[in-house]
């Protein structure tokens, strides 16, 4: 009896410790974003009070207005949007049939090809610095959206193919065969059975590609030098480059840049929790 009781007490202590630790960790995780949001609504005068004034007394949308009235930032947001949607569309268009061919059609060596494709994910981006620069300049693609799309595909294609192949593998072959018995051809089988069943996985892969492209910084920094094609992350960096860093504006811009990632995140979270999220993000 006594032992039982002490065991229960120990368990309760363990639980309390776990929740306590997780609460602290969650605070550390959330705090930077909280601080960003707080800063973005703070009028500039309050930045310089000492000790810091954590909560503003005069909330303002001024920083947001300033950022959203900045034509360079707006243009960069638009560029980011165009690049990300194009990259997503092309990635899906290429990786869905490829994943289908390499998994569902049971080709010899299909698995090996997939592993090779995925392993390119782990190449250091630095090995592409110079060759991409030369190739893009040869084809007059520096400072263009197309050039960025080309560079980004090297990152998104492997992940998308791998993620979609993973979902394709989980569809029972019987369903596909039943469709074929019913007289469906390749294309109809793909559309009506495989795609429909793996739609969540495909959406996740698409969102992943979008987020990768949306937050990409390295290639955008190296291969765009004019506002014509510069994406939002790079323009954000230019807010920093000015002599006097306007942190209020910077934080407002960072909030705006983070917003489009929230929805994809909530969808993808489920996927990550199943432990498929090891593909990763480059940086």
């Amino acid at each position: 009896m006594a032992r039982q009781r002490s065991k229960r007490a120990r368990n309760r202590l363990r639980l309390a410790l776990a929740y306590g630790f997780l609460t602290v960790a969650a605070t550390v995780v959330v705090f930077p974003y909280l601080w960003m949001a707080l800063t973005s609504f703070k009028p500039i005068e309050e930045f310089f009070t000492y000790p810091l004034q954590w909560l503003s007394e005069n909330w303002t949308l001024g920083q947001y207005r300033a950022v959203l009235e900045d034509p360079r930032f707006l243009k960069s947001l638009w560029n980011s949007f165009v690049v990300s949607t194009t990259v997503t569309a092309v990635s899906l268009l290429l990786s869905i049939p490829a994943a289908y061919g390499l998994t569902r059609l049971r080709v010899r060596g299909g698995k090996g090809v997939l592993v090779m494709i995925l392993s390119s994910q782990f190449f250091p981006p630095m090995i592409f610095f110079v060759p991409f620069y030369i190739i893009l300049s040869q084809f007059q693609l520096l400072n263009t959206i197309s050039g960025l799309v080309f560079a980004y595909l090297s990152v998104t294609l492997p992940v998308c193919t791998w993620m979609i192949a993973t979902t394709f593998r989980n569809i029972p072959y019987e369903l596909e065969e039943a469709a074929r018995v019913d007289g469906c051809g390749d294309i109809r089988t793909i559309l009506e059975v495989v795609l429909r069943m793996s739609l969540p996985g495909i959406i996740t892969a698409g969102l992943f590609a979008f987020v990768l492209a949306w937050q990409e910084y390295i290639f955008a920094l190296l291969y765009t030098t004019t506002t014509e094609a510069q994406t939002a992350p790079v323009i954000l960096f230019f807010f920093l480059g000015q002599h006097q860093i306007d942190y209020g504006r910077l934080m407002a811009a960072a909030v705006l840049l983070s917003l489009p990632i929230i929805v994809p995140f909530m969808v993808m979270q489920r996927y990550f929790r199943q432990g498929h999220g090891e593909g990763g993000v480059k940086g």
Binding site: V30, P51, P97, G101, P124, I127, I135, A151, L153, L222
Partner: protein
């Protein structure tokens, strides 16, 4: 994952007439990957053996000159060492934090989903935004970290987190750990699901304390996950670029100039394309060595 082919009824397995068709479906992707990944990667190898003159834009075969130049460059060796510290520091911290959080998550039932979701936030965060957030938090006068520590009385004067050569590397590693620990956490959490409850209970009956239980039961089971997590965080640490370039740009006094930044400067500050390509190969080889070690460890088990 590979079970599908094996578990199929034998009738379907002979169908290898679809081989050609399968690769036909994959062809567009393979062509684009060849153009966007394979070709540039090979091109990079070629460039490493050439000398580029930025003035005349002429290429000349240089043999091993670029590699010799690296070998003789104190800045390269500085970056080499800084990268090693960076990688080891990141692995250690990410593993410690990731393991602690994974264990805590594994021992609770209520709110597990919510906590997991929150913990994944850094990983999905944009690198630029993370860099800016920590730049702001570390700010010597206006930063909230100094403010907090001053209020708590932990420090007497504001600390220059990113501007002092001694602290800059550590501050960067902490920010990078914030960004990457979820990857380790989720990998280890998956591994923890394989730990057998019977064995834990048996250890309980034998009177083992929690620490012993962890060492004798949990740790051996999650060892494969730990190696995978170490591999992943090593690769990402070697591939780092965005956080350091925004937060310190390699400074102060090159104290945080990891190889990624060194390569960037070689290529786009000095326009020494050959040396940059050569250095990126050196980086690549280091990663390959790590992957080989990992496969070796896996083989042994």
């Amino acid at each position: 994952m590979t079970a599908t082919a094996a578990s199929l009824p034998p009738l379907r397995r002979r169908r290898h007439t679809w081989i050609a068709k399968g690769y036909l479906f994959a062809m567009p992707l393979l062509v684009v990957l060849a153009l966007a990944v394979l070709l540039p990667a090979l091109y990079n190898v070629v460039i490493a053996f050439f000398d580029y003159n930025a003035m005349t834009q002429a290429w000349r075969f240089a043999g091993l000159k670029n590699f010799v130049k690296l070998w003789d460059s104190p800045y390269f060796w500085n970056s080499f060492v800084v990268t090693l510290i960076w990688v080891v520091g990141n692995i250690t911290l990410q593993l410690a934090v990731g393991l602690a959080v994974a264990l805590a998550l594994n021992s609770i039932v209520r709110f597990r989903g919510a906590f997991t979701g929150i913990m994944m936030i850094p990983w999905i965060s944009s690198f630029v935004v993370v860099a800016i957030l920590f730049l702001w938090i570390y700010h010597p006068q206006l930063g909230v970290l100094n403010d907090l520590l001053l209020r708590l009385g932990a420090i007497e004067r504001p600390v220059a987190w990113l501007a002092s050569p001694e602290l800059a590397q550590l501050s960067l590693i902490l920010a990078n750990t914030w960004k990457f620990f979820p990857l380790v956490m989720i990998t280890l959490f998956a591994g923890l699901q394989d730990v057998s409850t019977e064995q834990l209970e048996a250890a309980d009956v034998d009177g083992a304390n929690p620490f012993q239980k962890f060492r004798m039961v949990t740790l051996p089971t999650i060892m494969p996950s730990i190696s995978t997590a170490v591999l992943l965080s090593t690769i990402w640490a070697y591939n780092s670029f965005t956080l350091p370039i925004i937060m310190t740009a390699g400074g102060p006094l090159r104290a945080t100039e990891i190889l990624g930044l060194f390569i960037y400067k070689q290529a786009f500050d000095s326009f020494d394309f050959g040396a940059a390509a050569a250095c990126s190969l050196v980086l690549f080889v280091q990663i390959l060595v790590v992957i080989m070690l990992y496969l070796r460890v896996l083989d042994k088990r």
